[in-house]
Structures are given as structure tokens and as C-alpha cells.
């Protein structure tokens, strides 16, 4: 196994360890919050997921730019891995947000601007992954998904701003944002946990992408002659 793959697996393991530690701290040891009660504990996994989802998609965006400037395959590998990871984290974020919203607001979805933007991002970047699946030419696939990734990423702040504005006309915003300083440690540990986890997974996933493309672009294996030894059928006389 390559050194880089071994390192990726180590990152994943370390990330999982941090997540277990941080979650245990947040669930078992930290006290309940004044107004939210124990539901606040969801924040110890929700906020770290939010940071890392944004980070993963920013990483994908950087890879897209690097690919368009360098045309090096390694950036397309990382782009594919980064987008996939970003979509998974964003999807997770939406699910966590929904689970948090039910006891807090009484509904499964409350059109919170950050969560709504995340939902749009799931569709936007998921769509680019779908695009990749339908393009056979590796070069076109790489160029087009880089272009699409850049456009989608540039769009994210516009989406956020427009949803925030649109929503603010309907309800007075009072989403609890601050996490009291006593609770910082589980948050930080989980944030680094997910960070190492996704960096490790992106490393492995990029390798998968590289191996797949090598298989795609490899010259065809020479055909063996049929066992009968007869010449292959060609057109011609009846």
C-alpha cells in the first residue's frame, strides 16, 4: 500500500477516535443548557458538521480552480472526492438540522437560511456528481465538473443571502447561535474529529478515482484467438 493511503487510513482512525471522545464528552459530561435542555447536545455534532461541510466544498472549489489552471489529473481526483464528501456532509447537516428543528420549533423544517442553503448545495453539487456519471470522455468530465463546481460555489453566498432575506420577511429570526464557552471543548474535539475523518476519506477516495481512470484509459488487452483456431469471420463471399 502506498504511504499516502496508509496516512489517509491513519487520519480516518484518528478522526473517529476524536469523534468518540468529543461525543462522549458532549453527551455524558457537559451539563444541559439553560433553555434548550438536553436537545442542545445536538449542537456538539451539528456545528462541527457545518464547519466541515463548508470546508470540504471549499476544498472542492480550490481543486476545480487548480484543475482548470494546471490540467493535472490529480486535481480532478481530489475534486471528485471533495465534492462527494461535501455532499455527504451537507446531507448529514440537513438531517441533523431537521432532527434539531422538531423539538425546538415543532416542525421538521423551518426554512432557516443556513439549512436551506445547505439543502440547495446538496442538490447543486449532487447534480454535478450526476453530470460526471453521464460523461464518458475523461477530459470533458474533468473540465465540465470543474466549471460547474466553480459556478455552484460562487452561487452559494447569493443563495444564502437571498434565502435569508426572503425568510426574514416571514418570521423574526431567533435561532440560538451562541454556544456558551463552557461547552467549547466537545465542539472543538468533534470539529477536528470530522476534519481528520474527511481529509482521510478524501485521500482514499481520490486514490479510487485515480485507479478508476487508469482502468478507463488503459489500452485494451490484446484479444486471444478463439480456441477452434479458425480465422475470425470476415465479410465477403457467401
Amino acid at each position: 500500500m502506498r504511504a499516502s493511503s496508509a496516512r489517509s487510513i491513519a487520519f480516518v482512525a484518528f478522526g473517529v477516535a476524536l469523534l468518540l471522545a468529543g461525543s462522549w464528552w458532549g453527551l455524558a459530561k457537559a451539563p444541559g443548557e439553560v433553555f434548550m435542555g438536553d436537545v442542545q447536545r445536538i449542537m456538539y455534532v451539528h456545528v462541527p458538521t457545518a464547519w466541515n461541510a463548508m470546508l470540504a466544498l471549499t476544498f472542492a472549489f480550490v481543486c476545480a480552480l487548480c484543475f482548470l489552471f494546471t490540467n493535472a489529473w490529480k486535481w480532478d481526483n481530489r475534486l471528485e472526492a471533495g465534492m462527494e464528501m461535501g455532499v455527504v456532509l451537507s446531507l448529514l447537516l440537513c438531517m441533523q438540522g431537521s432532527i434539531w428543528a422538531k423539538p425546538t420549533w415543532g416542525v421538521w423544517w423551518d426554512w432557516d437560511p443556513r439549512l436551506t442553503t445547505t439543502a440547495v448545495m446538496v442538490f447543486a453539487f449532487g447534480g454535478i456528481l450526476a453530470l460526471r456519471a453521464f460523461v464518458d470522455d475523461p477530459v470533458k468530465r474533468a473540465v465540465w465538473s470543474s466549471v460547474a463546481c466553480i459556478v455552484a460555489f460562487v452561487d452559494v453566498p447569493i443563495v444564502y443571502f437571498s434565502v435569508k432575506w426572503w425568510n426574514s420577511l416571514h418570521q423574526a429570526q431567533s435561532t440560538p447561535q451562541t454556544v456558551s464557552s463552557a461547552f467549547h471543548w466537545p465542539l472543538r474535539i468533534n470539529a477536528f474529529g470530522i476534519l481528520f475523518l474527511w481529509i482521510g476519506l478524501v485521500g482514499l477516495r481520490a486514490r479510487v478515482a485515480a485507479l478508476r481512470r487508469r482502468g478507463e484509459m488503459a489500452p485494451p488487452l490484446t484479444q486471444k484467438q478463439p480456441a477452434t483456431g479458425r480465422a475470425p469471420i470476415t465479410g465477403g463471399a457467401v
Partner: protein, 221 residues
């Protein structure tokens, strides 16, 4: 500049020659508006309240047809490669096509307004304000739409990929255009129209810029 005008003229000519298809797309949009009213029911006040949303949803759905169609002829007989061999920059090609698409979508939007007025009792006298929303909203649809249509028309699942890629991207256009149109139809006591128009304008400026920058890479060989 000459190249841009030439490209625009070419696309406009293509649209003119294919105008029966434009009528069909209009019919599709009008049918969509009719179906939306069935979803709500014959409640006049509810229909009027949501008329702006229906108009823009109908326009958005119809836009996937017209944007996809705008690249159909480039796919035949490898016309796209022929275009690229000309001494015109890809930027001129992009803007020529995007402007032509914009004109077509704006026309479609204006044609759907009377349908909306009749079906939802959603008339207004502020026609210039309405026109501004339609022009800026369709501009926001046309720029990324042209870019993505160029990509998806060369793929296998072209009909599903274009809406799949475009719709999440143009969420701000949908939000702002629906809000602004709603204010025009239902009244705007707190003067909220201007900020939404500004948002539409900003969206259009951003996407027309990056579209022009990126189109070259999308169509290169």
C-alpha cells in the same frame, strides 16, 4: 464586437426559423400554469396570492426546453466544431447565444403574463415594473442556462441533466423574481420592490461575467 453581433444574429435567425417550436414551448408553459391552478383549487384569492410563483415556475420549466433546444442545431453535423474553427472568440459565441436565449425567454415570459392574468385574476397596471422583473429574471436564467446547455447537450442524459444542474443554481432568481412580481401584482406598501430587483441585477451581472469566462473551456476540444 462584430463577432458578437454575428453570433447573435445567427442565433436569432435560428430561433426565427424554429418559431413553431417556440409556440409549442409557450403552449407548454401555459399548460403548466393551468395545471398549477388545479393543484390549488378554484379558490380565487389563493390563486391570486400565488400567481407570481406559478408564473415563474412555469417559465422556469419552459426554459429548460428552450435552452436545450438552443444547442440542438450545434449538435447536428458537428456544427459546434465548425463554429469553433471560425476566427471568433468563444466569448463572442457565448454572449451571442446567451443574449438570443435571453430574448426568447423574455418573450416567453411576457407571453405568459396574459395567461396568468386570466387564470389567476392577477392583473396589474404597473407594466413597466413587471417588465423589469421579467427582463432581469430571464437574464439570470439565460446566462447559466446557456453555459449548462452547452455541456448537457453533448451528454447522454441531456434532458434530465439540464434542469438538475440549473434549478439549484437559479434559486435566488426564483425567490427574487417571485417576490418582486408578487409585489407588483398584490401591492407594495413598504417599498420592497427595489431591493429584489437589485438582487436580480446582481445575480445577472455575476453570472454573465463568469459564464463568459468559463464557456471557452466548456466547448474546447
Amino acid at each position: 464586437m462584430n463577432a458578437l453581433f454575428a453570433a447573435f444574429r445567427k442565433d436569432l435567425l435560428l430561433q426565427w426559423r424554429g418559431r413553431t417550436q417556440m409556440v409549442a414551448i409557450f403552449a407548454f408553459g401555459a399548460a403548466a400554469l393551468l395545471l398549477f391552478s388545479f393543484a390549488i383549487g378554484p379558490d380565487s384569492s389563493a390563486l391570486r396570492e400565488h400567481a407570481a410563483g406559478f408564473l415563474w415556475l412555469g417559465l422556469l420549466l419552459a426554459s429548460t426546453l428552450s435552452l436545450a433546444e438552443s444547442f440542438e442545431c450545434e449538435m447536428e453535423e458537428q456544427a459546434l466544431e465548425g463554429l469553433l474553427l471560425l476566427p471568433a472568440s468563444t466569448r463572442a459565441l457565448y454572449y451571442g447565444k446567451a443574449i438570443a436565449n435571453w430574448a426568447q425567454l423574455a418573450l416567453l415570459g411576457m407571453a405568459l403574463v396574459p395567461v396568468m392574468v386570466v387564470l389567476y385574476d392577477a392583473g396589474t397596471l404597473r407594466l413597466l415594473s413587471l417588465l423589469a422583473v421579467i427582463l432581469l429574471g430571464t437574464a439570470g436564467l439565460s446566462a447559466p442556462g446557456t453555459l449548462y446547455a452547452a455541456m448537457t447537450s453533448q451528454t447522454r442524459a441531456r434532458q434530465t441533466l439540464l434542469p438538475l444542474l440549473l434549478f439549484p443554481l437559479v434559486v435566488p432568481v426564483l425567490l427574487a423574481a417571485v417576490k418582486a412580481t408578487s409585489l407588483v401584482i398584490l401591492g407594495d406598501p413598504m417599498e420592497q420592490y427595489r431591493p429584489w430587483i437589485t438582487l436580480l441585477g446582481a445575480f445577472a451581472v455575476i453570472h454573465w461575467s463568469i459564464g463568459g469566462l468559463l464557456f471557452g473551456r466548456v466547448v474546447e476540444d
